[in-house]
């Protein structure tokens, strides 16, 4: 197998940047959460790529990131419910009363 690991990292970086883009521009809170998942997934991929030539530590980190994603999404979706209850919308820009 002759994939340069740098290429895997580049794929991960592209996913990360795409996720960032999503977080910045999307107003739908569910889409923002999805973008977060994309970013976490990208980081997880990077860890596995980093570990492929070495011990299994990369996969352990992958697993740990997975738990993080699960925990974050559960709280995040609960917040989505609350947002919808308060503002009757999923637009995060509705929740921008605090500023200045």
């Amino acid at each position: 197998m002759n994939i340069p690991a740098g290429h895997v990292m580049i794929v991960a970086a592209v996913l990360l940047a795409t996720g960032l883009f999503g977080v910045i521009v999307r107003r739908n809170i569910v889409l923002v959460l999805m973008s977060l998942e994309i970013m976490l997934n990208a980081a997880a991929l990077a860890f596995v790529a980093g570990g492929s030539a070495r011990g299994a530590d990369g996969q352990v980190m992958f697993l740990l990131i997975l738990t993080l994603a699960a925990a974050e999404v559960s709280v995040g979706l609960a917040l989505v419910l609350q947002l919808y209850r308060r503002f009757k919308t999923l637009d995060v820009s509705a929740a921008a009363s605090m500023k200045g």
């Binding site: 340069p4 592209v14 521009v25 997880a44 596995v48 925990a71 609960a78």
Partner: protein, 228 residues
Amino acid sequence: MTSVFYISSGIAVLATLLVVTRTNIVHALLFLIVSLLAVAVDLFVLGAQLAAALEVIIYAGAIMVLFIFVIMMMNLGKAEQEANRHRRSPAWLAAGVLSAVLLAELIYVMVANPGPPVGPGNDPREVAKLLYGPYVLAVELASLLLLSGLVGAYHLGRPEQSRAGTARRLDGSPADSSSGSARPTGLGRAERKTQLGAVVAESSGHDSAAIGGSNAGSGPVPTQEEPS
């Protein structure tokens, strides 16, 4: 194998781009699942079978199901197309430029320092050995992390409490703490249902218990009441 990697990576990137640009949230979600599956293929190619399996089972499986639940519960399909009309505004351009700059920097870094080549990958058994060897503390901490997510999701996702408490508080008079934090009474439960009715309006037949159950995500909520 090499070509598989590049093809699946291409699919992943493409699908991800579609995720962040779609107006229809269900479409976006489907593209996200495609992206996750493509990444799972990448992981498999990299020799991380366990990671690939978990990516499919947990990411594309469990976690995405959570999203689907929420989307269905709120009946988001149509409403959200309106909210995303503002595409291709200057904000999108600026965000695109920012992300692109960051990406360019990262790619520059990776091209300048390509790092070691990809190795053969690791057996799931090695992962297991590590998990219950040097990483045992990390596993415990991960469980605490899940616990924390669970408690948080429970608290936030729990249906509204008796409205009486809220109304009294809005008046400014001190709410009676016992009724404020106690389990909702029968009346409260009924009210709760009506309130949820508004939330779950036109949802596809999930009752209120589904919210609590789906949000916890990682298991049953210990103090959740019986579904009515």
